[in-house]
Amino acid sequence: MQAKLPSTRRLIFVWAVLIAATIGLMGAGRVNADIDLGSTWVTVLLVLAGAKSSLILWFYLNLRQSSSGWQKGFIAFLCVILSFILGAYYLTPAI
């Protein structure tokens, strides 16, 4: 298999998206406030984390050049881990 590397332009674009998503994560996570986020914002946080992880896998680690089996395997793994963490959050009794 001859893997093709992402172009410089695409790498910079992906970086900009990742930084923007991190800023979004800071907003969703209310970094400057000590408040309970609630289930909606925690879901947003974990979805953003999953999206960022997928971008790193896809472009920085160039997983887009691998077989669909590996691609599905990595994405499924991320979904399982983040769903488990989200499930634990939903099952946490309210204070």
Binding site: L37, L45, L57, F77, L82, T92
Partner: protein
């Protein structure tokens, strides 16, 4: 991740992955370890939410976000080092890897400040379950950052495309793990 793939045909299913197959074995194993650790953290929080939320309030969430941006930027530099090396520009590649190392070192500096603040405030690894897991998970990641910087320094020196791809892949894995660690430990509440 190009040249390597021609030599990976003996690796079975791993040969369809870009870059060095051994690095992908490492990436999978690290994801499993950190995935288990973060799942354990989530379950521990579920069992003692008051302690976890009260302890988490002492973390500096801004520092965590800053370190995310630092690693993402350093990761971009490492990716660009591989990109320009594949275009045959060895000198520029070396410089991009040096930038990746310098920016990546900022992560260690920020984390050391953060650890210092916590220890000065009296929060150590034995304070409670939250801080035990905080120090273990972020400390293990910290160790990976140090190893990653050493690897980047080696591949910046011996900068064949194969070396650069393998070193950059390790660095992206470190980046990927922090992207998962930060929201779970610092933000979810």
């Amino acid at each position: 991740m190009s040249d390597l793939n021609e030599h990976n045909s003996g690796w079975g299913p791993l040969s369809s992955l870009p870059g060095n197959p051994i690095m992908w074995v490492l990436i999978w194993s690290e994801l499993l370890v950190f995935g288990a650790a973060l799942s354990g953290f989530a379950v521990a929080r579920m069992l003692d939410v008051q302690t976890f939320d009260a302890s988490q309030a002492h973390l500096d969430r801004f520092f965590g976000a800053l370190n995310t941006m630092v690693l993402l930027t350093s990761g971009l530099c490492a990716a660009l080092a591989v990109r320009v090396r594949s275009d045959g520009n060895s000198s520029a590649s070396r410089w991009w890897m040096v930038y990746a190392i310098l920016i990546g070192s900022v992560f260690l500096y920020v984390k050391i400040i953060e650890y210092g603040d916590k220890l000065d405030a009296g929060f150590d690894i034995e304070t409670n379950t939250f801080f035990t897991l905080y120090y273990l998970i972020t400390g293990f990641h910290f160790f990976h950052v140090i190893m990653g910087l050493i690897i980047l320094a080696i591949v910046a020196w011996k900068n064949s495309l194969e070396n650069l791809e393998t070193g950059a892949a390790f660095w992206h894995m470190v980046d990927l793990i922090w992207v998962l660690v930060y929201p779970v430990i610092y933000l979810v509440r």
